[in-house]
Amino acid sequence: MTPADDELARILDPSGAVVDREAREALDLKEEDLRAMYRAMALARQVDLECTALQRQGELAVYPPLLGQEAAQVGSAYALGEEDFVFPAYREVGVAIIRGIDLVEYTHFHRGTRHGGIDNPVDRRFAEVTIPIATHALHAVGWAMGTRKDGGRGCAIVYFGDGATSEGDFHEACNFAGVFKAPVIFFCQNNGWAISVPLARQTAGKIYRKADGYGFPGVRVDGNDVLAVYRATREATDRARADGTPTLIEAMTYRMGPHSTADDRSRYQPEEEIEQWRSLDPLFRFRKYLETEGAIDHAFVEQVENDAGELAAEIRTGIVEAPPRNVREIFEWTFTELPPHLTRQRDEVVAALEGEEEGAGG
């Protein structure tokens, strides 16, 4: 399960050198695209570090870092069109950045101020952050079926981990997608671990090869090679748009951080393994490549770093300074119209709060 694996599609090697020149040439990416991808990866890394810091400072309840998975997220998301719909799990800040999601609102999820993290997912084409593993794969399939019924050319992409492939819902989603020719991309970030459980205890098969059982293609790609990920995803969207063929992409990457800020990974994750993957850093690899190609220079890298710092600061201010939400909302969010029993409960809370305020004020 190292990136040296035979079946691994790859364009850049860990040093940033092009190993598949033909594939590289065939990519429909202009220099500005490459820069945008680099930028997104760098922003993702910075936002990720900031959120980890915010959690340590007590500003977030818990945060699951994406450290090390920037190429997998950015490469795949960059291959999407506007009409495509993202179904994230809980670690997809890199995807959110590409899709222009409001990161303050998104981070409020981790602060415990709101659930879901996305206002109006339908317009944003970005579903709520989803914690119950693999459940959202079915939502992606349903959306894909639905958009096809409308003659839309969008496809759905669902992000999940290696552990998620063990859940029944993953299976049902793949099977429905195959049967209904739902234009979905099942994007697995195989980061080697599901909390403390290593891949070998998760499945005895290979993830990308599970696709065959559902009658659609499965591909394995170097998840730390942003260009290879881009290509695999673009090919998948092409297939999906053509006739609804789904694809399962297994992006081989690595969770460089803990499972979440609540995790003590020293109990299970071997230092040597982390060390080994450190040399495969996706951001470093891509920067080397871009520098070699002359697509970016020092000034650009610095500018990106600045922007990243600003974005991080914006998120910090945004969440720390947000006024508390009104507790009325939890009643109003439940149903479109308040039924009598909820009205009663809402009024009780509101009266109590007003009583308190008055008490405090008087």
């Binding site: 459940t135 939502h139 019924k149 939890i330």
Partner: protein, 324 residues
């Protein structure tokens, strides 16, 4: 006016919903060519095409899970689960997503899903085909729970459920599928959340729903012969509960017996008791009692007559409240 069965009424409601709103989709196991094992979707695929009415693979979590996605794509999914006992594999999708999606999106997305589930016993069916899961759903905040007992109600409540912007668990008591009522299958605007007094009475109230409604009416009939006048309240919707009607009847008669098929412990009958006690305590002449299925798994078909509340048990409870 012709007689219609509840099965026909439900079929009629689905046909009408498909015709009136081209965003309505019907799917599930065997709902297409076969028209459903109870024929509730009979001929709908032929009429509206495979795009609108389609068979799915055999996977209940899948059926409900894609409903969430279809709703996000602007459709109004009306999935069918084949039998009560097979609704459980879908509970995670129902509880974690269908019930919560609006909440999770801070009120920005609706989930206009109607999950149809033939339910409950009394038809001599095999294991896992006679479950009464209403309490699971009623306890899950974010769901409405509807359970009609007559054909005309079934028609109208199914239409209102499909028009509702929020998720509805629509329970169809199988023992009522072949019950008949004379009337037109024309929408009467009946909203979700209204109970119905099926019989007025003075001395006590039987509160019930679904398959136990006719039995309670029989009990009231029998009691009347002994000079006891019982009111019969068909809740029709468990969430939202028609508190007004329930409390009015409890206050009026002062004696309440709740009757349902599900096991007693933590069944919806307990909720009815708790509501009545909270809002009508000073009017009560006797404890509010429950007559329900026993706290065992649903028994084999040959034993269901002992398991389901019967006239003797219902009248026995009424008697206890009268002589309290």
């Amino acid at each position: 006016m012709a007689d219609v069965t509840m099965a026909q009424a439900l079929n009629g409601a689905l046909r009408r919903a498909l015709a009136d709103d081209d965003r309505v989709l019907i799917f599930g196991e065997d709902v297409g060519t076969l028209g459903g094992v109870f024929r509730i979707t009979d001929k709908l695929q032929a009429e509206f095409g495979e795009d609108r009415v389609f068979d799915t693979p055999l996977a209940e979590s899948g059926i409900v899970g894609i409903s969430v996605g279809l709703a996000l794509a602007g459709w109004r999914p009306v999935p069918e689960i084949q039998f009560d006992g097979f609704s459980y594999p879908a509970l995670d999708q129902v509880i974690s997503h269908v019930a919560k999606y609006r909440f999770r999106s801070a009120g920005t997305v609706n989930m206009p899903i109607v999950l149809r589930i033939p339910c409950a016993g009394g038809i001599g069916a095999a294991e896992h085909h006679s479950e009464s899961p209403e309490a699971y759903y009623a306890h899950t905040a974010g769901l409405k729970v509807v359970i009609p007992s007559t054909p005309i109600d079934a028609f109208n409540l199914l239409l209102s459920s499909i028009r509702d912007p929020d998720p509805v668990i629509f329970l169809e008591p199988k023992s009522r599928y072949w019950s008949k009522e004379s009337g037109e299958l024309e929408p009467n605007g009946l909203p979700i959340g209204r109970a119905r007094v099926l019989r007025e009475g003075e001395h006590g109230t039987l509160v019930t729903w679904g398959g136990m409604v006719p039995r309670c009416l029989q009990a009231a009939e029998a009691a009347a012969e002994d000079g006891v006048s019982l009111e019969v309240l068909d809740l029709r919707c468990l969430v939202p509960l028609d508190l007004e009607a329930l409390i009015a009847s409890a206050r009026k008669t002062g004696r309440v017996v709740v009757v349902h098929e599900a096991p007693m412990t933590a069944g919806f009958g307990a909720e009815v008791v708790a509501r009545v006690v909270e809002d009508a305590f000073e009017y009560l002449e006797a404890p509010v009692l429950r007559v329900t299925g026993y706290d065992t798994p649903y028994p084999p078909a040959k034993s269901e007559e002992y398991y389901l509340p019967d006239l003797d048990r219902i009248l026995g409870a009424v008697q206890r409240t009268l002589t309290f």
